[in-house]
């Protein structure tokens, strides 16, 4: 996917922001007016460039028919109240094979949609849901059947719940520091309590939790 020029990104952002703030995409002339173009053609040219590069969709002949095609991360920007919310679709995995789920759509058990602000995540980060099995995290009030929303590639802070890969199995543990060294702690007395962090691979940090009625 080609990159955008600075100007093109400005145009795209303007279209997005108009859609977000007013719930209505701008016209070519409104774009031109905002950037002080004296002709709608400059706007047209930019829009065409954006379409060609796959960042925008435009239905020819129809007013205000701009659709920002989200490049990074699937997601949508929805009108909401006065402003807007950004939602991402998060796949739910029952178990995660070694490594990161690339396109493990087979193992997928479903989906949750979450608004970005609720989670406080960056839409660029890779996020997935992990169905909790067993009661290893009871001490953190996480029970069987809960869906842990896990974000990959985030530095865990002490006390965070993390998803770690141990013996090919993904488990939730608490990330802690002791004497400057990182450890993982299981939150249930029946499990080995402390694991040195070197022995395993942290898949991600839990940023949210979703629980359904049973």
């Amino acid at each position: 996917m080609k990159d955008l020029t600075a100007r093109q990104r400005q145009i795209l952002n303007f279209i997005r922001s108009k859609q977000d703030s007013e719930g209505l995409a701008p016209t070519f002339r409104e774009i031109a007016s905002h950037f002080r173009f004296r002709s709608p053609n400059a706007a047209l040219a930019h829009v065409q460039a954006l379409c060609q590069k796959g960042f925008l969709k435009h239905l020819p002949g129809r007013a205000r028919s701009f659709f920002a095609l989200d490049q990074e991360g699937s997601g949508w920007t929805l009108p909401h109240g006065r402003g807007s919310v950004r939602v991402v679709s998060v796949p739910i995995y029952g178990s995660i094979p070694a490594g990161l789920p690339q396109d493990a759509s087979q193992e997928q058990e479903g989906c949750v949609l979450i608004d970005v602000e609720t989670l406080g995540i960056k839409p660029t980060a890779r996020t997935f849901g992990l169905k909790v099995r067993g009661d290893s995290m009871l001490g953190r009030n996480i029970v069987d059947g809960d869906i842990a929303i896990v974000e990959h590639g985030v530095q865990p802070r002490p006390g965070d719940v993390v998803a770690a890969l141990i013996d090919g199995q993904v488990t939730l543990k608490t990330f802690i520091m002791q004497r400057g060294k990182p450890y993982l702690r299981a939150e249930n007395p029946r499990y080995p309590s402390l694991v040195p962090q070197e022995e395993l691979q942290i898949q991600g940090v839990m940023v949210a939790l979703v629980r359904k009625r049973k």
Copy 2:
């Protein structure tokens, strides 16, 4: 708020569905065409009626500037994978005044977006989020800061967590039956454990729970 006629509701639904499915509100002529009107004026008249009754907003002079003002079933249908998902926006209240929140937008603390399937709710039912204060539901692994998604107008089943109004305060309790009589149980030893159900008003049943990272 006045009621809509059957035809007006059809028009409103069409505008909504167009916005949902195509991401673009229709023009007067597109409305007319869909209903086989031979003039855009019929559409105009209906839109004006909808605006007057407060179900729709329209910016005069601007193309496709329709905004369905969510009366009851706010929500969107998003493309998702092969199919689509329906999402609703759920307001979060820190506290709920007596009665049901009608347009208590002042007390609102934010919003969560949840896909309907995850919750298994009927989009018509009135749903809201309730920010949990304190640890009265620790026994059910619900902690301070959690957001309980509560659905109004649903019959609670024994064992369900319900939101109940006691002394003007909304509290979460467990709904149980004992000898055929309904009771509410607090899930923390420091609280009075059993309350006969007659003394209070059940606001709704918790259908889901959302927890953010602190």
